[in-house]
Amino acid sequence: MSTAEMSTTARTGAISIRNVTKIYDPEGVNVLAVDDCSLEIGAGEVCMIVGPSGCGKTTLLNAIAGFHSLTFGEIRLDGEVLCDERRPLASQGADRVVVFQNGALFPWKTLGDNVAYGPMVQGTLSKAEAREKARHMLAEAGLGDVAEKYPGEVSSGMARRAEIVRALINDPKVLLLDEPYRAMDALTKSIMHEALLEMYDRTKVTIFFITHDLEEAIFLGDRAVVMTTRPCRVKTIVNVDIPRPRDYHLLSSEEFRVLVEEAKDAVHEEALKAFEAGERELA
């Protein structure tokens, strides 16, 4: 198993989701968003979460990040309880940094200052040291020339790359990505994928990545976890035993196609259910 191999080589960042249930209660109408969901993610694993829109994937991410509480069950990070029934809301910390769907760089800070923000507010580095480290990391990601520009001055691809650098500078155990490349065209997307993989190969941080895009899931992931439509549960897990480093030539290979098909069958079934249940959006 790829995950078992990995836990021997990687350091920290194992997430354990155990029997997690989330019930939303708007106006007294209980909505079961996540139902008894369990998933073990190894340290340093790239875990892709795939499922129809509104299925509750983001609810899981929010529970790990500490934005939303859970109702039952528990989530652990490296064996330590983040949240459980007694303490349903996890504390928010820089060990689990989130990259958002629509981009959340601070428009009033240059890319360099955006990246320097984490170490500065945590007080781990002085202002000058944080700026220096930020410039260095941006340069590593090929963004050295635009470090002094504001997010409004650069392309969305550059902004998104800078946002991932802003997350990584905190040296997190887990990177939580919520459909970060959703609105991008296929060409930009493939460039973003290679950049992300390149950063992953350098850091080996655990990645929890929510997506609709099956090719993205197989290309990037060690595993693609297909979720059921609401309530959210694990439906199937597609293991991607394709060696790293990977590049875009993989996209046209036979083994890649087979895995995408395998995931597609599972997702299609759920998408159909979601459609029949009257969901507005589909995978």
Partner: protein
């Protein structure tokens, strides 16, 4: 000579142009000047020859032509009373405006970030807000000991409500992803207020300031007309107009009106300039 032909002649090297050349090439400036000149010519022609095909031109035929206004203006320019009017009006506008900013921005932010505070104070605020500033004039003339203080109070009210509602709206519409991103990077509530909420609200603060400045001028002028001359609380451009009206001098009324237009333009330019300075990331658009 345009910038492009300069570049061609310099074989790809942009030659440094003199200040005069740049002034000559500033099309925006020349268009603005042309617009003002054309408007003046229309006005002059319209009020000099007010009979067209047997009809009297409405309105424009009744106001004095710009040349008469210019003559009247020349006569008041050396008078210290005229500049005293400018000074008094500006002082009142700035005082009311600055106090409204000082009270309004913190109040708007407090209403935005604290739910309990908002739920408790917002209803009262919303009942007071629709009352026009001028409706406060009689009450404040009674409550405040001097006319000057009544004017200051009413001026303050004019800008205050607009500022608060803008700041509140701006702070409440900050993208929650920005707050969550900051939180997930370890920012404290304090950091988030100063580094996210405040810069995120700046555009709305400047919108509120621009609108508030306009209202402040309106209110000051009206209050000056109502309070009249006299030893205390008198003067100002509003009183200048009122006084010209009482004296029956139409050109001087127009002089007062145009003076207010210029004063308003200077004020809003200052706010725009400050906004550009405070929000460098917005200059890109």
């Amino acid at each position: 000579m345009t910038a492009v032909s300069d570049m061609v002649q310099g074989a790809g090297v942009v030659r440094k142009r003199t200040r005069l050349q740049r002034l000559k090439d500033n099309r925006k400036l020349w268009r603005g000047i042309a617009a003002v000149v054309i408007a003046l010519v229309f006005w002059e022609v319209g009020s000099r020859w007010d009979q067209w095909f047997g009809f009297t031109l409405p309105f424009i035929g009744l106001i004095p032509p710009p040349t008469d206004v210019a003559v009247a203006w020349m006569s008041v320019l050396p008078q210290p009373g005229y500049w005293e009017s400018w000074y008094l009006s500006f002082k009142r506008v700035l005082a009311g405006f600055l106090v409204a900013q000082l009270v309004g921005i913190p109040l708007g932010l407090a209403l935005a970030v604290n739910r309990y505070f908002r739920e408790f104070f917002f209803p009262v605020f919303e009942i007071l807000r629709p009352i026009p500033p001028l409706a406060w004039v009689p009450a404040s003339l009674i409550f405040w000991p001097t006319n000057e203080m009544s004017i200051a109070f009413v001026t303050f009210l004019g800008a205050f409500f607009t500022i608060v509602i803008n700041v509140l709206g701006g702070a409440r519409t900050i993208d929650i992803s920005l707050l969550r991103a900051a939180q997930s990077m370890g920012a404290t509530q304090w950091d988030m207020f100063w580094k996210i909420v405040l810069p995120g609200t700046l555009p709305s603060i400047f919108t509120g300031a621009a609108v508030g400045m306009g209202i402040t001028w309106e209110v000051v002028l009206a209050a000056e007309m109502i309070s009249g001359g006299g030893t205390q609380g008198g003067g100002g451009l509003g009183f200048f107009i009122w006084n010209s009206y009482m004296g029956g001098s139409l050109p001087h009324i127009v002089v007062g009106m145009i003076s207010i237009g210029i004063a308003g333009y200077v004020s809003s330019s200052a706010i725009r300039w400050l906004g550009d300075w405070a929000m460098p990331w917005r200059r890109l658009f």
